[in-house]
């Protein structure tokens, strides 16, 4: 038998996607150096891409629609701020300059989300389709209300209405946050890349295609789903913590459904199920969000909602799906992007 044929793993990250990832990681710092965008803009933009990529690990690869994903921003956000609050004698943030301290704490906060994901994931991932989506929504709201009711009890004078503001004497330069976010988002993108090239990733996609057939052919579906869910939670929490740092504090808004909306819309626009699509979706959504906000303030989200409806009805595979249908010089673009 011949080894000369070319294997074209559809779910294998093709070079353009890798290029896209590397480009993102390199270009963003360049943009900052050249002062083309403000540091804050870049931080927000990176977070969009990061969130999209993080959600992609569970939603894109396995097809499980997670409406309540924002719960991990909340859990990690509060953990992060509480960590800083109670670790103040050690001054971690200052201790490691240029963002390392911030990143380490964010990793810890992300791990908390990962653990929660493993614990709830085991029962909740037994549900399929809409039931899973609604269950995650239930989790988000349960967490929201529990946090809302118990956090003030920790420190009634300081944590009123479950809002925790970072200490005023804590000076966190934007460049430090930028570095940390850049690393966090890069890690998330690289994780996507590694997963898509791995046996684990193939198993996840098989789950998406036909979960029963995947289980029958040997894919350990339960284990894989939980791992994907908890990785997704980790990266969401990681980035979420840093964004909380960027905002200067956390409140119940961290659990707000709008974050889930952002993340899901990014994936839908970019194209559900593709790593390329999730990154593209992040960029496009950021640009779209910003443009609509400037040009049509007030009704910007209404227009966005209409766009999403049009995509679902007429282009359900998102922009990646549209691109896939074209060819350049006889190479089907579908074969190039994952």
């Amino acid at each position: 038998m011949s080894m000369a044929y070319k294997i074209n793993f559809s779910y294998h990250l093709k070079r353009p996607t890798l290029l896209f990832i590397i480009l993102t990681i390199i270009i963003v710092p360049i943009l900052k150096l050249l002062n083309i965008f403000t540091t804050d803009t870049l931080i927000i933009m990176m977070s969009f891409i990061g969130y999209a990529a993080a959600l992609n690990i569970i939603m894109g690869f396995t097809g499980y629609v997670d409406f309540g994903h924002t719960v991990f921003i909340g859990i990690s956000g509060y953990t992060y701020v509480l960590l800083i609050w109670y670790l103040e004698p050690f001054n971690i943030l200052q201790h490691f300059g240029s963002g390392v301290g911030a990143l380490i704490l964010a990793i810890l906060a992300g791990l908390v989300s990962a653990v929660v994901a493993i614990l709830v994931g085991y029962p909740v991932l037994k549900l399929r389709g809409a039931y899973f989506a609604i269950a995650t929504l239930g989790l988000d709201f349960a967490a929201l209300y529990i946090v809302k009711s118990t956090v003030p009890a920790l420190n009634p004078s300081q944590f009123m209405a479950a809002e925790i503001i970072l200490r005023r004497d804590l000076i966190v330069p934007k460049s430090m946050i930028f570095n940390a976010v850049l690393v966090a988002v890069s890690l998330t993108l690289l994780a996507n890349y590694i997963i898509s090239k791995s046996r684990f990733g193939i198993g996840l996609v098989a789950i998406k295609e036909d979960e029963d057939a995947a289980e029958d052919i040997g894919v350990p579906t339960t284990k894989y789903k939980i791992i994907a869910y908890s990785l997704s939670a980790f990266f969401t929490g990681l980035i979420g913590s840093l964004m909380v740092l960027n905002s200067g504090g956390v409140n119940e808004g961290a659990f707000h459904i709008s974050h889930s909306i952002d993340m899901i819309v990014m994936l839908v626009i970019g194209g559900l199920g593709s790593v390329f699509g999730s990154i593209l979706g992040g960029y496009i959504y950021y640009w779209l969000y910003d443009t609509l906000l400037v040009k049509f303030p007030g009704i910007n989200l209404i227009i966005l909602g209409i766009i999403v409806i049009i995509i679902i009805l007429f282009a359900p595979e998102g922009i990646t799906g549209i691109i896939s249908k074209y060819k350049i010089k006889n190479i089907k673009l579908r074969d190039l992007i994952d």
Partner: protein, 253 residues
């Protein structure tokens, strides 16, 4: 006398008030080709699902190569060496034909297999079933016959010892049926498989199987060679109609 590869001991499976399997006991020896027949609803697919672990029986135990596998999940039984094809085909539609088979190779019996090795095994299986030309096509582009062959190739890529074929011939025209049977025979020979085949296409299964087990309303009502089965009164009453008709099927070999 070859060893017992599969022992089903007193398995009962209930769904609410319905008893799908009632105290079923079957022993299969290594290298056998067993046909599992019975009218619709007799419990054949349910039995397969109990073997693979998709269902857990309420009573009874199942042993594979001496090891108890009752209730172990499908992904584990696959790794032990039991692979099932589906009655209604379940291809991974957005993957290519080769990739479909590769999933089988990557998650099958062999541990620590590399992508390259998986590719090799899968391609070989595609060649055996005759799908190598379509390796790069998306699975959604195949017709029914090809998809059934893909199911088989994917199952074989997982390197099973016991292959469970669930109505693999359903929906095929006569020529396709003959082709499929040839491939199944070839595959059994080459990989030294034990095969249990659920089938409604009577002349095919009575022809190819060495031994037939008959289920009816969840109970095993008969067991024996195709010729014996064709003459067993209970089977004829339940299923095959008149005795002469039944014998004609057997004579059609």
């Amino acid at each position: 006398m070859s060893s017992k590869i599969l022992v089903i001991d007193g398995v009962t499976k209930r769904f609410g008030g319905l008893t799908a399997l009632d105290n079923v006991s079957i022993t299969v020896r290594e290298g056998e080709f067993v046909g599992l027949i019975g009218p619709n609803g007799a419990g054949k697919t349910t039995l397969f699902n109990c073997i693979t672990g998709y269902y857990k029986p309420e009573e009874g135990r199942i042993f594979f190569k001496g090891r108890e596998i009752t209730g172990k999940p499908p992904h584990l039984t696959t790794k032990y060496g039991i692979v099932k094809t589906h009655q209604i085909v379940k291809p991974f539609k957005n993957m290519t034909v080769l990739e479909n088979a590769m999933v089988g190779a990557l998650f099958g019996k062999r541990k620590g297999i590399s992508t390259g090795e998986a590719r090799e095994i899968s391609y070989k299986m595609l060649e055996i079933v005759g799908l190598q030309e379509k390796a790069e096509e998306y699975a959604s582009a195949l017709n029914l016959h090809e998809t059934k062959m893909l199911e088989l190739a994917r199952a074989l890529s997982a390197e099973p010892e016991l292959l469970l074929l669930d109505e693999a011939l359903a929906g095929l025209n006569p020529k396709e049926t003959i082709d499929a049977l040839e491939i199944i025979k070839k595959v059994k020979e080459e990989f030294k498989l034990t095969i249990i085949m659920v089938e409604h296409v009577m002349h095919a299964v009575m022809n190819i199987a060495e031994r037939i087990v008959v289920l009816h309303y969840g109970k095993k009502i008969a067991e024996g060679t195709p010729q014996e089965i064709a003459k067993t009164p209970e089977v004829i009453t339940a299923y095959l109609g008149e005795p002469e008709l039944a014998l004609k099927f057997v004579k059609r070999l």
